[in-house]
């Protein structure tokens, strides 16, 4: 059996050897989604501008990795490679051992802006792929992000944070094995942002997709991730595990110490 563990439907879940055991399945008995992700010597250049220059990173299944780096260092470019929107000039992206050569169904990307279709209701936006039974699935996802009562609204009447939550619900509906978050909370105020952090952590603990979170905010990285990597000059220059118990508090001295260590590297 393929080691890809995908949640097909909640009821008819078939256990895959060694991946789903008592600990790895959540309370509802749902299978956990994450698969390993391997970035192998990636090179990307736009004309003469070299963006990625031999970026290599190994991410085990279900790990939550935060990617930190200066603006323009190529973080979004990296995301586009992983989801299959663009191809590298050299190097490979391997998802669960398979090289990415086209758009990946098992990868979902949450963009920095919510990118909702203004002419579809919140529910229709969440169920945009129109898979069989999409209304039920979409409603469940909206419930997950706490917006089920807004299902019939137009996106235009939502607040920025609500829109980002709808986009998160849309991503969840795809049952991603790999979840890519490209600075999804950058435009939100501090309060909404920490709400979104709690939500994201809860969802990740439940579904355990392999997660890559891009952020400018080192505090955000340390609060959420198992591991923080710094990208500089087109490659990974710093890689540190965050061995702090969850849920984490920002004012914890250990957290603060780690934050300043990472900041020195950016």
């Amino acid at each position: 059996m393929s080691p890809i563990v995908r949640k097909i439907e909640q009821a008819g879940a078939v256990a895959a050897d060694g991946v789903v055991d008592g600990e790895d399945a959540d309370a509802a008995g749902q299978k956990l989604l994450g698969v390993p992700l391997e970035l192998d010597n990636l090179h990307v250049a736009f004309g003469a501008r070299k963006v990625l220059q031999g970026l290599t990173l190994d991410i085990p299944a279900r790990q939550f990795v935060a990617v930190v780096g200066r603006s323009g260092v190529g973080k979004s470019t990296l995301m586009r490679l992983i989801v299959g929107l663009d191809r590298p000039n050299d190097g490979r992206v391997l998802i669960d051992g398979n090289e990415v050569t086209s758009l990946q169904k098992s990868v979902r990307l949450l963009f920095q802006d919510a990118r909702l279709l203004p002419w579809q209701t919140v529910l229709s936006n969440v169920g945009i792929a129109r898979m069989p039974g999409w209304k039920e699935t979409a409603l469940t996802a909206l419930r997950d992000v706490g917006l089920e009562d807004r299902q019939n609204d137009w996106p235009a009447v939502l607040s920025g944070g609500q829109r980002q939550r709808v986009a998160l619900a849309r991503v969840l509906v795809g049952h991603p094995a790999v979840l890519l978050l490209d600075e999804p909370f950058g435009a939100l105020d501090a309060l909404t942002r920490s709400e979104m952090h709690a939500l994201l952590e809860r969802l990740w603990l439940r579904h355990r997709f392999t997660t890559l979170l891009i952020t400018h905010d080192v505090a955000e990285a340390v609060a959420l991730a198992d591991r923080v990597v710094v990208i500089r000059d087109g490659r990974v220059t710093y890689d540190v595990d965050v061995d702090l118990p969850r849920p984490r508090r920002r004012i914890d001295p250990l957290t603060v110490a780690l934050q300043s260590k990472i900041l020195d590297q950016v």
Partner: protein, 264 residues
């Protein structure tokens, strides 16, 4: 409070004061012989002309014929313009092949080809329909093309990442995104549609509102001429109101059209 509601009540009447005054003065001037009825008939005469032509069935006959030409022309020209806009908007190759030719045609004022049209079709129905068609083709083509080209690339990318195929992307992302622009084109086209028809029917026709007014002019029935002008204005207004209703319906998602802010 009281004074404000009085004001609001007055607000319903105030815009009508000037038109009513103009009509009254016009009527008095015509009756008093200050204006020659042959040059400008009194409003009451126009009303009589309306009643007479309505009773004889001539009015409805001509209105039906004119509307028929207008909408057939719009259907053909607008339909083709829309189709070309979609094709050129979605395919760079098609654009390369067709767009500059279309832009060249667009620079020919469509009324300038009337002599040719009369040569080709005489004063046949086809002549009027053809003129309306080429008049309405370009506004719809240009706005459809522009609407499709300016659809947010980010939304298309999002749709691809979420597994939508090319057809689903076209129907659910590109077309709805282009719709506001298409409707702007439609409103332009409606204006041009009536204008073209007025000219075409005035020059070469044996039926329709334009023919009715030209015919009346020959017999110095100025009341019917004025009636014809008013009918054109009403038809134009009706078409405009209809597009506004369509916009409200299909652009309900657009913040500009939100009433209650709820889609359901």
């Amino acid at each position: 409070m009281a004074s404000r509601s009085v004001l609001r009540g007055a607000g319903g009447i105030v815009p009508w004061l000037v038109p009513i005054a103009v009509l009254a003065i016009w009527e008095l001037a015509a009756r008093g012989g200050f204006v020659e009825a042959r040059l400008l008939p009194a409003p009451s005469q126009v009303a009589m002309a309306f009643w007479d032509t309505l009773r004889s069935g001539a009015l409805l006959h001509h209105v039906a014929i004119s509307s028929n030409r207008a909408f057939l022309g719009l259907l053909l020209g607008g339909g083709l313009g829309f189709l070309l806009g979609v094709i050129n908007g979605t395919s760079r190759h098609a654009e390369l092949l067709l767009d500059s030719a279309l832009q060249m045609f667009r620079n020919v004022p469509h009324l300038a080809v009337i002599p040719m049209v009369i040569l080709w079709f005489g004063i046949d129905e086809m002549a009027k329909v053809f003129l309306v068609a080429i008049g309405t083709l370009f506004p719809i083509y240009l706005n459809t093309f522009h609407g499709i080209r300016t659809v947010d690339r980010g939304l298309i990318e999002m749709a691809r990442v979420n597994g939508l195929g090319p057809f689903a992307i076209f129907w659910r992302v590109v077309l709805p995104g282009a719709l506001p622009s298409v409707l702007v084109g439609l409103r332009y086209a409606l204006g041009i549609m009536w204008l073209t028809l007025i000219v075409a029917e005035t020059i070469a026709a044996s039926s329709g509102i334009g023919y009715m007014t030209m015919n009346a002019r020959e017999f110095l029935h100025t009341d019917v001429v004025v009636l014809g002008i008013i009918i054109y204005a009403l038809l134009g207004k009706a078409a405009d109101v209809a597009t506004k209703l369509i916009e409200h319906r299909v652009l309900a998602w657009h913040p500009a059209y939100h009433a209650a802010g709820n889609a359901a």
